[in-house]
Symmetry: C2
Subunit: 231 residues, 2 copies
């Protein structure tokens, strides 16, 4: 890192949230939950990024609904569902309001706030979904900003997305550190000039095609301990 950051910008889906409620709801519907769940987020990101190439607005909720409809409506899946396709998609999407945060998140967020960092949540999905997640976890009050790319236009990791978030928060890029489980987000933030922390809960190798993170931590609690005091 070029300097000690004074703000920590969190990615939300999978970085803060545990999405296993979606897997559970898919299984409950009769779908092959493990497979559909495994494909869900990469497919949503693929489609959001593709629409970003086109300069087209891509509301996360609508893209997510399209992905679930295609997955659940495919031959070999649709006939296994316990209800019609519309109702199945609705039930699966409802999982977003059940998502919880990972166990390392609440303590890590508290400690970062106590240490004086400005905390920001910045998501490719909707700000409202993120607000709900943070409220349920009892940490909403610790975040100065809850931001969505839906107000910026392009999805992360397009450079304009990070520029938008920095501008809303009144931060210069080196004053902020992005924390994410997703290497594509770490890479995009690094290219935009932010410091970066890769939250590596899975202990998996980091992709060679992406810029390495400044810090690698196993959870948000460890991040709170690893950062130097805010500038």
């Amino acid at each position: 890192m070029n300097s000690a950051p004074r703000a920590v910008v969190f990615d939300v889906n999978e970085t803060l949230s545990d999405t296993t409620a979606l897997r559970r709801r898919l299984d409950e519907l009769g779908a092959p939950g493990a497979q559909v769940h495994a494909r869900f987020l990469p497919s949503v990101l693929r489609d959001g990024f593709a629409l970003t190439f086109a300069g087209e607005p891509a509301p996360f909720q609508r893209v997510a609904e399209d992905v679930l409809r295609a997955e659940l409506g495919a031959a070999g899946v649709r006939e296994r569902l316990d209800r019609d396709l519309d109702a199945a998609v609705e039930l699966a999407l409802g999982a977003f309001s059940e998502f919880t945060v990972h166990p390392d998140v609440p303590g890590g967020v508290e400690r970062l706030a106590e240490r004086g960092f400005l905390l920001v949540a910045f998501t490719n999905s909707s700000a409202a979904q993120c607000e709900g997640l943070l409220e349920r976890a009892g940490v909403r009050g610790r975040f100065a900003h809850v931001l969505s790319v839906q107000d910026a236009g392009p999805w992360k990791p397009h450079p304009d997305a990070y520029a938008h978030a920095l501008s809303v928060c009144g931060l210069a890029a080196p004053e902020a550190l992005l924390a994410a489980v997703h290497p594509w987000d770490v890479d995009g933030a690094a290219r935009a000039g932010l410091g970066t922390a890769w939250v590596d809960r899975a202990g998996a190798p980091y992709p060679s095609t992406y810029r390495a993170a400044d810090l690698v931590v196993p959870g948000v609690d460890a991040l709170a301990d690893a950062l130097p005091p805010p500038a």
Copy 2:
């Protein structure tokens, strides 16, 4: 369609190729084959698109290797593998040289060629992999061009990728029809001015966020029958 196309540009991964050999090799290694296979291509596309935002070259082979290394190296998977991670990734990647074409492809390609269409294969992966696939299927000779985005820079569906392919083939956009199983590819080609055919083998709903295809066909053989004679 604005006019009758004289060229058919085929997407390759999953549109021509059947990728179940990857699933088989993953199972053989001890990995949860269905899940890793389900995540594989959306994840590779996500990463190739993200690197396209950055203007960074993203060779498919390297991105694919990174994705497999992360999936197979994750906690809960690595310890189930029957060999070390490098060897496991190599075995999985080797599946590309085993991919076959879908049963509707050879007859459809023959018929399109007999009807006088100029045939082009245009892939986000390597031209060499695509050449191998078409050779094994005995239809390489029917294709006038086998093109990769690796010579263009950006991955499909970035508009520059289609412009590159059209330029190499000496085609104006309305003279070409893109055929793909992937809605993101249909959408990108439509925005670039090409005609489009969605090859829908799964019978799944088409995403609402993407431009609809001019034609929807259940396979390449049906496409050969559905097109008007080449202009």
